[in-house]
């Protein structure tokens, strides 16, 4: 590893920028992210900064139950995050649907089947510190090049295969219609 790429890797751990995505949460997990960004828990002590757009983010925090509508949105937003990227799943909902599992509008599957998840933060909702710990762990994985998307890319690079282009959203259609396409 050259010195430059080493510096870039350390910078990734020292300043992970996050983007949060509510996939259909009850808002409990999102409420816990707010104190995380306040002076009390102070995510910026780890260089964590919240960004409104996925295009600036290194780490995506996904909270909430996966619904038929949010599946497409998750894929859209995940594809917009520049590589390398890490995914942190908050709470029980992304893992299983929690108490909402079995509802007709809820996907009864783990978030892992939609995007590669690197860190699971258990809790309902998880404590702010647990979320902080999860982000720190994801940042460490990013530095080591060990997030699942990075590993998949390096595996593809070894096999010298052309990388599949992420599906481009059809921007000619209104937003709601694009979401509707994701429904079974």
């Amino acid at each position: 590893m050259s010195i430059l790429s080493r510096v870039v890797a350390i910078a990734r751990r020292k300043s992970p920028w996050i983007c949060r995505l509510n996939a259909g949460s009850c808002n409990g997990c999102d409420i816990e992210i707010t104190p995380l960004l306040s002076p009390r828990y102070d995510a910026e002590q780890l260089g964590i900064e919240l960004h409104g757009t996925p295009k600036h983010a290194d780490i995506v925090l996904i909270s909430g139950t996966l619904t038929h509508r949010s599946r497409k949105a998750i894929l859209d937003i995940y594809d917009q995050v520049p590589s390398p990227k890490a995914v942190v799943a908050l709470g029980s909902c992304p893992a299983s649907g929690n108490v909402f599992a079995g509802s007709p509008t809820v996907l009864n599957e783990s978030l892992d089947t939609i995007v590669p998840v690197d860190v699971w933060v258990p809790g309902c909702p998880p404590r702010p510190q647990a979320i902080l710990d999860g982000i720190a762990r994801a940042a460490k994985l990013l530095e080591e090049g060990a997030t699942r998307s990075q590993l998949a890319r390096s595996l593809q690079g070894q096999q010298a295969q052309p990388q599949p282009q992420p599906a481009q959203p059809d921007l000619t259609q209104p937003e709601l219609a694009r979401c509707e396409q994701g429904r079974p």
């Binding site: 828990y41 002590q45 108490v99 998840v117 258990p122 809790g123 309902c124 647990a130």
Partner: protein, 182 residues
């Protein structure tokens, strides 16, 4: 000026923000990581019945063991299982469940294996009751009985309390009658 005072007063203080490992004190009733004690569990199924998100399930190897399974990714930390467990085998500790790297499979699941024991009277495999649940009304030998044999022993005791031993016919004595369960 006031700002300068604040800055000077805080200059040598340690940071007042909380690092991830620095847990603030939580009440004793805080519901964190779930712990299950296989030695106290009687596999009664009450916890699985009260759990709304169905985080608890059972599997069994007939005649050998019953396994209690818990998937943390489906738990809403409501504490109903702890409140309703008759033998206090489940407790929600104040510790926070750790962050997991692996997918929603291993690491997020707990499994407790409860080994079945043969009944000391009829030999049927059964889930042994924990010592605390047995109380003092059972003798040492009776503590190894299966539920059916305990039922039989309880009714035999009740009968002997009403029918004095000398008036009972020899055939009604517990030792001879006890070949079957009834």
């Amino acid at each position: 000026m006031a700002m300068l005072k604040t800055v000077l007063a805080n200059l040598l203080q340690p940071s007042r923000t909380r690092a991830p490992a620095d847990m603030p004190p939580v009440p004793q009733t805080y519901r964190g990581a779930l712990v299950h004690d296989a030695g106290r569990c009687t596999a009664c199924g009450t916890c699985a019945f009260v759990c709304a998100p169905k985080a608890i399930s059972f599997t069994q190897v007939p005649g050998i063991s019953v396994s209690w399974h818990f998937f943390i990714g489906q738990c809403s930390f409501c504490g109903l299982c702890e409140q309703n467990c008759p033998t206090h085998a489940i407790s929600l500790e104040t510790a926070v469940p750790g962050v997991m790297n692996n997918a929603a499979g291993d690491g997020l699941r707990l499994e407790s294996i409860i080994a079945l024991k043969p009944c000391t009277r009829c030999g049927a495999a059964h889930v042994p009751l924990p010592e605390s649940a047995m109380g003092s009304q059972w003798s040492e030998e009776e503590k190894g009985y299966c539920p059916e044999c305990r039922r039989w022993a309880a009714s035999a005791k009740l009968r002997s309390a009403f029918i004095p031993a000398e008036t009972a016919t020899p055939a009604a004595s517990p030792a001879l009658e006890g070949a079957g369960h009834d």
